[in-house]
């Protein structure tokens, strides 16, 4: 294969935020028809780099050049999304930017026409979009309101929107985060077809597997620097993981263990709520010393299940039993007292109070216990001692117990939450997306803690969107889809394809 011409060149891009160097002299070439995977942990600088490319940020140093129609590279004016669009750069953000009350077609046209003329020019636009759909396999009903489309369909609208603007360079930011395995494969096939047609693609990810499946070349960022670049054909998983983390990565794996007595049972539990936050007729058992994994595409009732397990909501019907006894009080404090440790999905939003100190956050759940207060007055000595111990035992990297928790990185905040919940030797752990957004080192640490707890006989409910994590840790896996739980399947030897089908639900695509 002869080398295709370069369509995009990043040259020594540096961007600082205060003392933090988010991008440090990054060079990157993108050729015509090429798919480059930009791989890195959270905070590696992927998103910053793409925001510079798209004009949301201005680089402190360095130049972005894009090939014009004549194929000659010309510098892109910094800080102008308009210039980026005009130069043919299209971006599909992780969080979609669609107007839910408009149709797919209107969304695609939005911004290219004055808003009042959308309908006038619809005919020409429809012909163009239909041609694009034919050429790429990106099919979606253009006349349905976006609010009624599935996540996968919305993503297709986003991509069509970029193509409609004649994008020659397409940036996909964590495109598979919201897709089922089947949908992800569909997306990769589409991207391949588009690349064969001459589109150049940068796709951002921190998932190794999909990067190997879907790209021509891999660029690894770590700590704001480019630390590796290789053809995908020559890459191997282990080496890339090490590049991302900067050291060797031990794999997390459970060891077989006898299943103990049933700790927690749900019998036909229904949690009311709108359709994204409801749970129907859920039946589930968690035994001592077992990890039950909940697999599912996000927004299928995980939030309701997690809220139920955290004590935030009470069931509308059905029975929830702990050690055979019905749960009487559905409130977070009562649950904590019953020995349920809870790791919230959004650790910044629900996990810590950022403005309060590390010590205060560690003590927050137990603050009314006599060891932390006397007659309503706080015992600062005991609180700080507990925090200092948590910092030591859980290796929380911070400048001490008295700094605000918001100054900690995501991984260290998660360690803080683990310390708070696990230190009281819980009987049951709710771990909701416990490793989302964490770097591999912190992920391994979280896995180790959960496996240790399991070895001590603690039951764990692990809700995760990461199939690898679920397969490695869970004894049994339950699939959640449209608010319903499947029967529990032994994780040993479970077929991923079958899991994917179950996650997609029966005819969820059409029903939604």
């Amino acid at each position: 294969m002869t080398e295709a011409p370069v369509v995009l060149r990043l040259d020594g891009i540096t961007r600082r935020f205060g003392a933090l160097v988010a991008n440090d002299g990054i060079d990157l070439d993108l050729r015509r028809g090429e798919i480059v995977a930009l791989l890195g942990e959270n905070g590696a600088g992927k998103t910053t780099l793409m925001n510079i490319l798209f004009g949301h940020y201005v680089a402190d140093e360095g130049v972005v050049s894009v090939a014009g129609a004549d194929g000659v590279l010309a510098p892109l004016p910094p800080g102008s999304p308009h210039a980026a669009l005009a130069a043919g750069i299209g971006m599909v953000h992780q969080h979609f930017t669609l107007a839910e009350n408009l149709t797919g077609l209107e969304n695609i046209m939005l911004g290219t026409e004055p808003i009042l003329r959308l309908r006038k020019r619809a005919g020409a636009a429809r012909r163009k979009v239909e041609a694009l759909m034919g050429g790429s396999g990106l099919t979606v009903d253009l006349d349905v309101q976006v609010s009624r489309l599935t996540v996968g369909e919305r993503q297709r609208v986003e991509i069509l929107k970029a193509l409609y603007r004649d994008a020659r360079i397409l940036v996909l930011d964590e495109p598979t985060a919201v897709l089922t395995p089947g949908e992800s494969e569909g997306l990769f096939a589409t991207v391949r077809a588009l690349a064969a047609g001459g589109l150049s693609v940068i796709f951002i990810s921190h998932k190794l597997g999909e990067v190997l499946a879907a790209s021509d070349r891999i660029v690894v960022l770590r700590g704001g620097r480019k630390v590796g670049e290789m053809a995908t054909a020559e890459a191997d998983r282990r080496r890339i993981a090490e590049m991302m983390v900067g050291r060797e990565v031990p794999a997390s794996r459970r060891t077989p263990r006898e299943r103990g007595r049933v700790l927690l049972s749900l019998e036909r539990v229904t949690v009311a709520g709108d359709h994204r936050r409801s749970l129907h007729d859920a039946t589930l058992e968690i035994a001592e010393g077992e990890i039950v994994g909940i697999a599912g595409v996000s927004g299928n009732g995980q939030a309701a299940l997690a809220a139920l397990m955290a004590g935030l909501v009470r069931p509308a019907s059905g029975a929830m039993r702990l050690h055979g006894a019905p749960v009487a009080r559905h409130d977070p404090r009562a649950f904590a007292r019953l020995g349920i440790a809870r790791i919230p999905e959004d650790r910044h939003h629900d996990g810590v109070v950022g403005a309060m100190t590390v010590a205060e956050n560690v003590a927050l759940e137990d603050i009314r216990e006599p060891r932390f207060q006397r007659a309503g007055f706080l015992r600062f000595g005991a609180i700080r001692a507990r925090a200092a111990q948590a910092i030591r035992d859980y290796d929380v990297r911070c400048q001490g117990p008295d700094i605000p928790a918001r100054l900690l990185s995501g991984g260290n905040i998660q360690k803080l939450i683990l310390a708070r919940g696990l230190d009281r030797e819980p009987r049951l752990i709710l771990a909701n997306q416990p490793t989302r957004g964490l770097d591999i080192g912190a992920q391994t640490e979280v896995h180790r803690r959960l496996l240790d707890a399991r070895a001590r006989g603690t039951g764990v409910l692990l809700i995760s969107e990461d199939l690898d994590e679920l397969m490695a840790l869970s004894d049994r896996i339950v699939v959640i889809s449209a608010g319903r739980l499947s029967a529990a399947l032994p994780a040993e030897g479970l077929d991923r394809g079958r899991l994917g089908m179950m996650m997609a639900g029966h005819d969820e695509e059409r029903a939604a």
Partner: protein, 359 residues
């Protein structure tokens, strides 16, 4: 090009200095309209300082003005800490004053050491209850307390007027809509003979210390801070959010109610519908100037009181309208907000040229 970036760490001296600098900036900015009004700004500020602090009498007047502002400022600060936006200090102040008058004008006959605590308690309870309604509506139905508390101010003022025209009207008042006088036993004593500054100031300072201690050192204070800074996380960790919000509402309303007691039982002696020239609203400014810190409330209240008292004297001396005082207060609030921005962010001159890396 100028880049705005967050500061990595909050500098404590800077955070403490910011309100002072803001006050100075406000004074400098207000000098412009003073000059336009035809007065020499330096002379004007000279009159203001001597009017507020120039004599024992002036200082007593300033402290008298400070007293209700400490309590309404504290009421706002404690509520704002819990993200409970109490704009109803004015109404709660009148509720407190009304209760003080209901109890303290002869309905009960007891010695001072019974009457004074009783009047204070009645005012605090009335203020607290008057804020309870909006707080419950917020918790139960998500009703915006900014709207409910603000509108209740007018409801309370009309109610006071109704009472002053009706049941509470003093038969000896020659037709003026005012209540009977607080009895001597129920009146808050003056702190300095023949001056107007009264024991309400002591009540305010004690309240400041108590609230400061509570916020810093108690479980309740920690729960209030947690709920205010991140209510979902507090709830997740098992903090009783509803109880905490109710507790804050009662406390905030009680403090504003005490301000009303002070005005009626310490200063005026009887209730009229112009008892407060907006102390409830000024309390919000005091709380913001104080950065919601209980101790800072004292300094902020003193500052605002001295601006108002001083402006009267400036107005008399130079013929400049005393509305300048409102201007200075408004400008200092704006300056504090801008100053708050600069304590959290800094401006940096950035160069676009890809020159050699620095720092």
């Amino acid at each position: 090009m100028i880049v705005v970036e967050p500061r990595a760490t909050l500098s404590r001296p800077l955070a403490a200095l910011a309100p002072v600098l803001a006050g100075i900036a406000a004074m400098l900015l207000a000098a412009i309209p003073i000059a336009f009004a035809g007065a020499n700004p330096i002379a004007a500020y000279g009159y203001m300082v001597s009017g507020a602090f120039g004599s024992m009498f002036a200082f007593s007047e300033t402290l008298t003005r400070t007293t209700p502002l400490i309590l309404t400022g504290l009421a706002a600060a404690v509520a704002f800490r819990a993200r409970l936006w109490n704009i109803g200090g004015e109404g709660q102040l009148y509720a407190g004053a009304l209760a003080a008058v209901a109890i303290g004008t002869g309905a009960i006959d007891a010695p001072s050491w019974v009457m004074i605590p009783l009047v204070l308690l009645a005012g605090a309870v009335a203020g607290a209850l008057f804020f309870l309604g909006p707080a419950v509506l917020k918790l139960k139905f998500g009703a915006d307390e900014v709207v409910t508390t603000l509108l209740l101010n007018f409801v309370m003022l009309l109610f006071v007027q109704m009472m002053l025209e009706g049941p509470l009207k003093d038969p000896m008042s020659l037709g003026w809509p005012q209540s009977a006088a607080i009895t001597d036993a129920a009146a808050l004593p003056a702190l300095i003979p023949r001056m107007r500054v009264h024991a309400g100031l002591v009540v305010g300072l004690v309240a400041v210390l108590a609230v400061w201690l509570m916020m810093k050192r108690t479980v309740w204070g920690m729960e209030i801070r947690a709920v205010g800074e991140n209510a979902p996380a507090a709830r997740y960790a098992g903090i009783p959010v509803t109880a905490t919000v109710l507790r804050v509402a009662l406390l905030s309303g009680a403090l504003a109610g005490l301000a009303g007691v002070g005005e009626v039982a310490g200063l005026k002696g009887y209730l009229t519908s112009d008892l407060s020239p907006g102390f409830g609203y000024s309390g919000i400014v005091v709380a913001m100037l104080a950065g919601l810190s209980p101790l800072g409330v004292v300094a902020a209240a003193l500052f605002i009181a001295s601006v108002f008292v001083g402006a009267d004297s400036m107005s008399r001396g130079l013929g400049v309208a005393s509305y300048i005082a409102d201007l200075v207060v408004a400008l200092s609030l704006l300056s504090v907000l801008v100053g708050g921005f600069f304590t959290r962010f800094r401006l940096r001159l950035a160069r676009r040229t890809p020159a050699g890396a620095e720092g």
